[in-house]
Symmetry: C2
Subunit: 148 residues, 2 copies
Amino acid sequence: MKWQRLKRERCSIARSLSVIGDRWTLLVLRECFLGVRRFEEFEAGLGISRTMLARRLQHLVKHGVLRRAVYSTRPRRAEYRLTEKGRALYPVLLSLLRFGDQELAGAEGPPLVLTHRPCGHAFHAEARCSACGEEVRPHDVSVAAGAP
Amino acid sequence: MKWQRLKRERCSIARSLSVIGDRWTLLVLRECFLGVRRFEEFEAGLGISRTMLARRLQHLVKHGVLRRAVYSTRPRRAEYRLTEKGRALYPVLLSLLRFGDQELAGAEGPPLVLTHRPCGHAFHAEARCSACGEEVRPHDVSVAAGAP
DNA sequence: GTACATAGTCCAAAAAATAAACGCACAGAC
DNA sequence: GTCTGTGCGTTTATTTTTTGGACTATGTAC
């Protein structure tokens, strides 16, 4: 299979994975949401090879998830920042975090605690229905074809 | 880097990715949530190599996301079903679907429409705060270390 | 001139993924 | 009993990806 065929598949999950579905990208984005912007910071935080990091960053820029922002012209230096499109991936990261906290954290408990500043409480993310606000479970969902 | 080191990292996102973070697993799980259970069905639906499929299914069983259920002893036949732990990944799939619908669907619009049967409406999944029920955005969240 | 910093690229070697063939256990037809 | 088909994989040789370390480019500090 050619990995690039995912892009052309008529499935939004497959298309999303064509952007963020390799072994490194979601870790790169985790760093982004934690405030990391610079090449060497990513490298140090991830233990990724420089080659792969450069390639992943280029890929994310190409897909509009990050943008390359020059913050110094002499010497020339650039950093990587999330775009709006990139921030739209936040729910993906939150749901992965939740899964890890719930199912994979040992007896020690979750390594990170998130606080929702508007309400002031520690929280986890829940997948809820945009129409009624209830939490969504697999059995409650029916699937139909969309536009032709 | 050894991919297996993710498992031991004290980050729930990294740990989650050690379970579902390769190129194929989330597509395998998409099929699961659409009702697929048998080896040959997965193979046909994904265009994955048999080698990889066998390895992915074993990996998911080992991590308790799927369980191997024998449905015929003579001849010996097995199928793969989601466990509770596996169903806990539903929000991950829903958020990937949402990202694809929102950011990657062309002019044609979303290929699939989900209906939330309890309320009867077409919907998309939103990441909401478990404490107050509001939608969570990156800027509203502060992060602190959890247990030592 | 020497050392250091940031942001990469290049390339040979190691690791992983693939496709196609093979294995095996059984069923049913003949 | 032997032939053919099916479901679920494993083995093997080949192709692709990833890695790690050196190297480039541009500039500052001493």
